[in-house]
Structure formats: C-alpha cells, structure tokens
C-alpha cells in the first residue's frame, strides 16, 4: 500500500494537509451523496413497464435556493481557510536565512550568502526560516519541494521570492515543476534538512567560494556603477549605503520599499523607478548582466544596508547581512 502523503517536513506542511483532509471530506461527502442518490433513484424508480408514466414533481424555488446557498456558504469557508494558509505561505519572517537560487536549463545553483555554493542540493538547518530569492537564466522553472508543500515558479526577467521553515531533519525531493525543455524531468535534486550541530559541521567543511556580496562588489566596479553611485556629494546617482530595506520616494510620487525586486528593476529598467530628485540618466543594463550577476549585485547592495552613509570606498569588504549569529562559519 503506497503512502498517500509526502512527509510533513515544514512548518506549513501540516496546515496544508489539514486543509486537504477537510477538502477530501467535503469532496467525498458530496460525491457519495450524489452518487448514492443517483443510483438509489435509478433503482427505486426503475421503469417497470414500457408505458409506465412518471409522477409529476413540482418545481421548488425553495429547494433551488437551499441547494444554492448551502454550497455558497461552504465554498466561502473553503476559500477563507485556503486564503489563510496562503497568507502564511506568502509572508517570510524578517529574520529568515537568505539563499539565492539561479535556475537554468537543467540545473539548480544555490548560493548561501557566506559563499557556500551547491548544485542541485540545498542544505538548510532545521527550525530556521529560509528565504529563497530566485532568478532564471533562461526559461520558466519552478522550485518544488513536496515535503515542504513549497512551490514557486522562477520566471526569467524578475526575482521570485518565497520562504519555508523546515521542521524535520531528512532528505527530501527537489523537483522542477514547470516544463522547461528536454531535460525537465532531470532537473531534480535533494534538500537536506540538518540538525543545528550537523549543519554547523557541514558549513565548516567544504571551502566556501567567494561570497555573493564580494562577487557583487566586483561587478559594481566592472559595470562602473561606482562612477554615479559613489557617495560623493553631488553624485549623479543616489547613495546605496543603508538603502536596502528602506522606503524610497520615486520621481512619480510613489513610495516603494527597496527590496530585491526594486534593486533588480533599478538596474534593468531604471526609468520606471527613478528616485525623486535625480535625473533620468541611468542607462538600462537589461541583457547586459546575467541573472546571476544581478543576484550578486543585489547581495552586495544588501550588504551595504548597514554601512555608513558616506565616505566608504566602494570596494570595502561588505558587512555581513544580518543573520542569526549561530550560523556564522
């Protein structure tokens, strides 16, 4: 007898499964009700002679209303419960561990902020919220971990952000869940959820590469971003120190949060999110920087969140992003 449910290994798996069981019960109830009635009526009112006449049954507006209103009420409950679980899935906690994911045909590249890189595998600690910021180098992919009940499409041309918190150590399937070409079925891997001690051991072993933020710092210079965003007074572009996570006033009057998507858009479509008080002279880098490069720049700019506002040289070692101290290598 094969199992019916994947392992419940995340903080929301149980909520999703509870919702599922409720929905199964509703489905089973109404299916059995209709199925039984239909069979019972067919048998009970089986035509006994060729010229048998049926009995007139008068239409009932009341019955129609009853069997409209009851399902209506039921679906409102289903909607509300589903929406509440969905809200839970959509709002990452503030202290989440950041992991950056680049999807490309047909592999997953995962980078921890401290420089650990993984291919088709992700090691995460148990009990810690993990926030995935994902980009695609080519086509639409989808990061799917059934055991976490976690899925989010990775769409080229934008960052996709979603989160989970693993609750059970173990090894769980990772699948690509959006058809992406020939080797779509092979774009699979594993997520390893580890107890804190094991996770520390894993972090300590292996040689982390360059941190994302350091790579981003290099790109910042390579693409001459520092010539306008160099922090000197009268600079042509706004300072990026302390920018990430703040509210930004745009030239069109709107105020937006400077999150990963804002940074990305500022690089590929700067005129759309022009900061108030600055000229629309920033060129667009669309097509000139890869998605991975954009992730690196975002990581770098995030690392400037806690840097002092003026005077620091652009190539200074970036401060670590605010994370739980227990995870420092």
């Amino acid at each position: 007898m094969p199992q019916l449910f994947p392992p419940e290994a995340s903080s929301f798996a149980g909520h999703v499964d509870a919702l599922y069981i409720f929905l199964i019960l509703v489905t089973a109830f109404f299916s059995l009700l209709i199925g039984t009635l239909v069979v019972v009526f067919a048998i009970k009112f089986h035509r006994k002679s060729p010229d048998e006449v049926a009995t007139e049954v008068h239409e009932s507006g009341l019955l129609e209303i009853v069997w409209t209103v009851i399902p209506f009420g039921l679906v409102l409950v289903m909607f509300a419960w589903g929406a509440s679980v969905y809200f839970r899935l959509s709002r990452p906690p503030a202290n989440a561990l950041d992991i950056y994911v680049t999807a490309k045909q047909w592999m997953w590249k995962l980078q921890h902020t401290d420089g650990h890189r993984e291919m088709n595998e992700l090691h995460v600690p148990v009990g810690v919220p993990v926030r995935l910021t994902m980009a695609s180098e080519d086509v639409i992919h989808s990061f799917y971990v059934p055991a976490f009940r976690f899925k989010r499409d990775v769409v080229p041309g934008r960052f996709s952000t979603a989160w989970f918190e693993a609750t059970k150590p173990g090894k769980y399937h990772l699948f690509c869940a959006e058809f992406c070409g020939t080797r779509h079925s092979n774009m699979i891997g594993w997520v390893y959820v580890m107890k804190p001690a094991d996770y520390q051991a894993w972090l300590a072993g292996g040689v982390p590469g360059e941190t994302l933020a350091a790579a981003g710092a290099k790109r910042f210079i390579e693409h001459q971003c520092n010539t306008c965003h160099g922090d000197q007074p009268g600079a042509r572009g706004p300072s990026l120190n302390g920018l990430f996570g703040k509210q930004v006033q745009l030239a069109n009057g709107r105020t937006v949060l400077a999150d990963e998507s804002y940074i990305r858009e500022s690089i590929v479509n700067p005129q759309a999110v022009l900061t108030a008080g600055y000229q629309p002279i920033m060129p667009t880098f669309q097509g000139l920087i890869s998605e991975e490069g954009l992730l690196q720049l975002v990581a770098y700019i995030k690392s400037l969140a806690s840097a002092p506002p003026a005077g620091a040289a652009a190539s200074a070692a970036p401060a670590p992003t605010p994370e739980r101290k227990t995870i420092r290598p």
């Binding site: 199925g35 009526f41 409209t68 909607f79 779509h184």
Partner: protein, 542 residues
Amino acid sequence: MSTPTATPSQRVDYLNASYGVKSWLLTTDHKRIAILYLIGITFFFAIGGLAAALIRLELLTPAGDVFQAEMYNRIFTTHGVMMVFFFMIPGIPGVLGNFLIPLMIGAKDVAFPRLNLLSWYLFAIGGLTALWAVVHGGVDTGWTFYTPYSTVYANGWVVVTAVGIFISGFSSILTGLNFLVTLHTMRAPGMTWMRLPLFCWGMYATGIIQILGTPVIAITLLLVAAERIFHLGVFDPAQGGDPVLFQHLFWFYSHPAVYIMILPAMAVISELVTAFSRKPIFGYKFIAASSVAIAVLSFLVWGHHMFVSGQSVYAGLVFSILSFMVAIPSAIKVFNWTATLYKGSVSYQTPLLYALGFIGLFTFGGLTGLMLATLGLDVHVHDTYFIVAHFHYIMVGGTIMAYLGGLHYWWPKISGKLYPEYWSRVSAWVIFIGFNLTFFPQFIVGYLGMPRRYHAYPEEFQVLNVMSTAGASILGIGYVIPLIYFVYSMRYGKDAADNPWGATGLEWQTPSPPPTENFPDTPVVTGRPYDYLTGREEEAVG
C-alpha cells in the same frame, strides 16, 4: 412513438439524397456537416489517443527507457494539442450541435450554412496543419506554449502548430457565431426561449464563450509566431518582454475554453436525464440560467492557473473566490439532474448509463476543482499529476462520457439504425472502470509530489503509475468497441423508428434519418418543454 411513413429503403433522407464525394465535401446541409465533423474528430482523437498510449507506456517504469526525453516531450505535447484543439473544442458543437440545433428549433438549417461548411474546412485544415508538424517531428512545448521557452528556446515546429491552432480557432468562432444567430433568429413559431430544449441553452452559452474567448488565443498565438519568426521581444524577458503576460493572455482564453468543452456536455446530459426518466427536467429555468452564468463567470477566473507564477497575493485572492463562484451553477445543475430522476420512470439504456456516469464523475472531478481553487492547497499540487487527474475527470469522465451518451441517444436519428444494446452497455462499463483506474491513482501520485510532464520519475511513484497504465489499456479497449459497432450498425443494424425512445423534442418528430430540409412545413410549438406528463409530446402542427 410514431412509425415511419415509408419504408426506410424507399424514403429519401439526408444521407441518400445525393451520392458522391462532391456532394459531401460541398454540402451545406448541417446534418452532413455534422457527419464530416464526426469523422474529423474521431480521426484526431485516435492520434491523441495513440499519443496517450505511448505516454502511459513510458510511465510504466520510473526510468525514461522507452523514449528519449525530447521525443517524450513531443508526444505529450501532441496529446494535448490534438485532444484539446482538434477533439474536445470542436467535438460536441461540431457533431451534435450542428446536427441537432436546427432540428430542435424547427428550422431548415443553421443561419449561415455556407459558413458552417467553411467552419469544417477550417477545422480540417487547421488539424492537418498541426498534424503535419507532428509528423515532421512535432513540438515539445506542451499545449500551453509558455514563453520564453516556446518563442526562443524550443526546437520544433512551434509556428506551424500555432498556425494550425489559429486556423482551427476561426472554425470555433464561426461555429459559435452561427449557433448564436440561429438560436436568436430561426426558432419556429411558438418556440419561446423558455421552451427551448436545454441542449440549445447549453450551446448558446458555449457560443458566447467561443466568440469572446477564441480571438484572444488567436492573437496570442500570432504574437508567439511573430516573436519566433521576427525575433520580436513581446514575451522575451531578454528584450523586456514579460512571460507572465503571455500566461495571462493564454489563460484568458484557455480557461473559458474548458467551459467550451463542458457546457455542451452538460447540455447533452440535461436531455438524456429527462428522456430516460420520462419526466420533465427539474428546474428548467435554473439549468438554463446556470449555463449562461457559467459562460459569464468563466471569463473571470483565469488567474487560478497562475497562483504560483508570481502574480500578487491579492490577485490570487480575487481569482480564488471567483473560481469558487463559477462552481456554484455547476452544482445547481447536478442537483437538478438528480432531482429529475426522483419519481421518474427510469430506463437503463446505454445513454442513461453514460449520463449517470457523467453525473458521478463530473461531481467528483468538479469538487477536486474546488480543491485547486483553494489557494493554500494549489501551491502544493499545481503542475503535478493532481491537476492532470482533475482535468481528465472533467474532460474524459465528463465530456467524453456525455458525448458518447449523446451519440448513442441520437444515433438512431443520425443514421436511421440501432446500435447493439448489449455491446453498448458492455463498453459503457468498460469505459467507466478503465477511466477510474487510469485517473484516480493520479490524484494520489500528484499529492505525493510527482510533477507533470515528467518522462522519468522517482521509484516510489511506480506502483500508482502502473495502475494508471493498466486502467488506460482498459479504457482504450472501451473506446474501440463503440467505434466498431457504430460502423457495423450503419450496414447491419436494425432500422430505427422515428422516435425509438419515446422522447419529446422536435427532432424526434422527423423521420430517422431526417430528410434534407428537416421539416416539410414549419412546425408550431405549443406545449411546455419535456412535456411527458400531460400525455402529449410537443405538437408539430403545420
């Protein structure tokens, strides 16, 4: 029941009125066009069915050991494209809609008979164009053509396939237009809207969707083709395009499209349930209104295909609640059909078996649709076999069963012959059992996490896949049996009376098969619809 006025061998009907290929390929008789559609959709169903068999063969084992990945991807795309665009969408409207609507309303033909023939040609040419692409290597994008894969990365005949679907889309538009105008302007005297058979109400609602939705997929596919040929960047992020815009435009049609597939099926079921209970349908007005409500609401829910694609949480909420709303009119229909059986005089002939099967399977499949409308759950099951199971329950357990039920019910009228009742009941049961064994395990394997469009899968999913393949073999046999006996009956079947079922409806007032002009004199309608109980069938006076 009435008896034929002349022996069948002497009577001139639409089948023997003229002979020769030209008389068929240049016909403007809606009944002959229906037969042309019957042949066409059966042909494309066979191709899509073959593709399905190959898919299930590959999925018997976890490893991708029957086909190369690229080949498998082209096979599942062929299955989807053939089945959706060249079987399901044209199916019931093309065959039963064309044959029955003029007969049911007392008209001599549809409003635009030549346009009707054009519709068939567009369908055939579109289908053959897509088939050309299949034969020359096919396309591997899935029937959904998501960009930028389809516009930039896919090898294969994307443009040719898109053109085939585009051409066939105009067939759908013109059919819908024809039916809408026919129903508005050509009803016989006394045939008020509230006396219209529910089959016609269902086809009317379908027509609304056909004319409003299909043009959007047409322009979307045109843009995809233009992007591929001229390297435009409308949906290519590298040039500033938005792949999610493609999804919005695609699903704006493709969601209502599934209602193009189910409304005609529900329309058939309304007729079958009342005829085989020999009792007026319960809740006529509510069923009619539900058909139109479904057509309207169907345009408001497309975003439920995109809950994990990156649209905002608030968009998700709106599409979720509306998706629940669109289920309510379907539920109303199910309750009304069930109530029709109550205190009826129920006869277990094959069309009723299919109708009962439909009611059970559609209810179950529709409720799994509510599961998908539930935001919190859809995140987990989106793009898995759970979705595949859901839509096959509706399309195969629903629409195809209704189509077969309708085909059996009206076969005597269409062909003038009776099919063998024993074999028809056998195949109905074989189909029911085979269907459930094929698709129920897919719900389970989907919740376990097996993604769709996978050519190889982890071992722990094998048992359920083997069950599904076993079911598919049985289902395949179930579909072959009617093909054989329908063809057999045309030659060797017993002659049918004008009204073998004792049913109400103007179509049963004509001989089996009807003459080309349907009614020598225009009927006048005086009774209420499905008037079984006052001992009077709909009068055809004139």
